[in-house]
Symmetry: C2
Subunit: 396 residues, 2 copies
């Protein structure tokens, strides 16, 4: 049976993360590989109670088709409650509800990329975005980061050298996979460069509100005067990922296109889930819930960094994220984190090897660890086990 | 601001149906334009009760990320309960849960179509599929139908004349927009032709179980020995569209690709909605619910056809669907249903003009009416009003 797939489909590979997650699902494995929120923090009882109220008041509408743009009260809540924390003053009309922010990533590629067009992204960048974009057969240009995220002079250089660049993709806050965060002046500069080079910026911001120290940074989009920046948000990390609710915030001319793409993609996101989320946030202050998440993740981050300092060889470097879910570990240049992972699996511990986060350079001596969904004793034991494996490679 | 969209995005248009639906949302308009299920039949109370049980038993999992393929118990239910009515004996492994069957359509184009490839479809065909496919810039070849659906000799001719055809798209049961249904021998023949010409068939089947007379037809896929047929199903018309749950059923090599596309598109469909649907169907027999829908829609179909016979000019033809949600009306060759619609809107009644259902031939003298979501008095009054407008065009 010789099936002719499209060229793009022939190039598609299963995401290394999701395949890995399958391997690490055995209960005996301590897995730092996933990116799951801590389930014990989900507001299960409140959602249960809200659901009864939703079904009581508007049960048939919650089970019926609704508008492609999304349930209007939820769009209003996103505009007024969530986007305001990132310093933006918006209305429901600026928001399209998506099936998670992953859908916003896929739509962005569909909207902006012809085959062979250039996407400029951080080096490394989010694997799920790289995979979603890859289906549209672009060329990736990686831009180097320092401790404060993408290096602006390197970004400018990439823009000059690639006049066919069609999209800048960036995660300014607690970046996946590095955990790095841009200071405000870089955000402002990126918005200026977008206007200068007339290139859309996809600002992917799933973690911005999960800041452990200080207040939420203004979004790149908050500096965007002409409308070149598309902001992708999500309730997955601040409420519940299982409901698959994210959003796109963009200027009208761009948002209209996203809406048409949404029509073709799945007509609309779940009426039921949208109503539950909206009713929840009308009744409760999500900020209180986010404060709880920050506190728990902040403690776990502290513990994980302490343990890495204690149990990893002194030469191993790691980032020091002050928010989000991930830290990024750098091994000696000659080491391959994927190979070392095989030994870790034998010790019943897992991380994500860094190579697939580099779309072109494929650097091998990095890995990503997640600290959001693991109790303290497992963080300690898991890091110990990785340390034991790493120490073999660093012995003199 | 000169934004460079992708070529495909430049060609995207808003769906005529959804734009129309907006116009017809005023409560004074009797709209036969939509394709909404009857909301009064939604099992609101049962869903409410089921939800409490789901949250009680597995609240955190219902709010957490889950597998891309879908929630396994729901995949099992689809295989065992739903696919069996269409004469197939399958397992959970043959099923991918999608965000409505619209997502299955979009994925199919992404999987099989390069720019310029040929899609063979019925003339007319489902607008939402045409729009989803169009984003991948194919060429459409329309194949004529008679009262029993696609004409097999015409399909063979199209296959012979288009060696670069990459996909046959068909809705065998109560087709959208015509309401026509294929007899079993045509289904068998299409499965044979797929193998002979080595071309995938996308069998879109949202309405097959809503049959008013006789039993559900075997799917084209039930005759598929080599695995060329992809079956798209949905809970939208037999349970609740607001939950956005559909499925793809395909042979392993093809289904694997759909799963990878799903990863990039939205990671997974709602964990919550999947669990509610599964728990509902574990506790209740969905067939009982479907029997109720059949009865109500069957009566409304009878009334609508009777009224059209009574109030429309004698020369106006319509199809006689024995299931599904739609009938199709043919006007005199020289008439334009879109222009006549403008007069209908003034009379506060609406249908969908047929032109956008013909991707290339754009025939103007047809329209689609929906009979599923309207009480009897509105069906009578609405058809009367359309009849009043039409009569002006048929007066001697």
């Amino acid at each position: 049976m010789d099936i002719k797939f499209s060229d793009r489909a022939n190039g598609l590979k299963a995401s290394a993360i999701r395949e890995l997650l399958k391997l690490t699902e055995m209960p005996e494995v301590i897995s730092f590989a996933g990116g799951l929120p801590a389930p014990e923090l989900f507001p299960v009882e409140k959602v249960k109670e809200i659901f009864s109220e939703v079904m009581e008041k508007e049960g048939t509408s919650a089970l019926q088709y609704g508008p492609t743009e999304g349930y209007r009260p939820l769009r209003e809540i996103v505009a007024k409650q969530r986007m305001s924390t990132a310093q933006m003053d918006l209305t429901a009309d600026d928001i399209l509800i998506t099936t998670g922010s992953q859908q916003g990533l896929e739509f962005s590629a569909k909207l902006f990329l012809n085959k062979g067009d250039v996407v400029i992204c951080e080096s490394p960048s989010y694997l799920g975005a790289i995979n979603a974009f890859a289906a549209y057969e672009p060329k990736f240009i990686e831009v180097e980061m320092d401790d404060e995220g993408i290096i602006i002079s390197e970004l400018e250089k990439a823009l000059k050298e690639n006049p066919n660049a069609k999209m800048i993709y960036t995660i300014p806050d607690f970046q996946n996979p590095t955990g790095k965060t841009m200071p405000d002046d870089r955000r402002k500069r990126i918005a200026e460069l977008a206007a200068e080079y007339k290139i859309p910026v996809i600002e992917d911001n799933p973690y911005g509100e999960l800041i452990f120290e200080g207040t939420v940074h203004p979004a790149i989009k908050s500096y965007d005067k002409e409308g070149w920046v598309v902001f992708l948000g999500t309730f997955s990390k601040i409420f519940a990922p299982g409901m698959r609710l994210g959003w796109v915030c963009a200027s009208p001319k761009i948002l209209d296109k996203y809406i048409i793409i949404k029509q073709g993609a799945d007509l609309q996101s779940s009426s039921l889930d949208q109503r539950i989320a909206a009713a929840f946030m009308q009744k409760y202050d999500l900020n209180d819930h986010i404060l709880k998440i920050r506190e728990v993740y902040g403690k776990r981050r502290n513990l994980m960094l302490e343990c890495m300092d204690k149990y990893f060889p002194a030469e191993v470097k790691h980032t020091n994220p002050y928010g989000g879910l991930f830290a990024w570990v750098e091994l000696r240049d000659d080491l391959d984190a994927a190979k070392i992972m095989e030994e870790c699996i034998k010790e019943n511990v897992a991380y994500v090897p860094g190579e697939p986060f580099f779309p072109t350079s494929g650097r091998k001596n990095f890995f990503r660890v997640n600290y959001s969904c693991m109790p303290d004793d497992k963080i300690i034991e898991g890091v110990k086990r990785i340390g034991k494996v790493l120490n073999k490679y660093y012995e003199k």
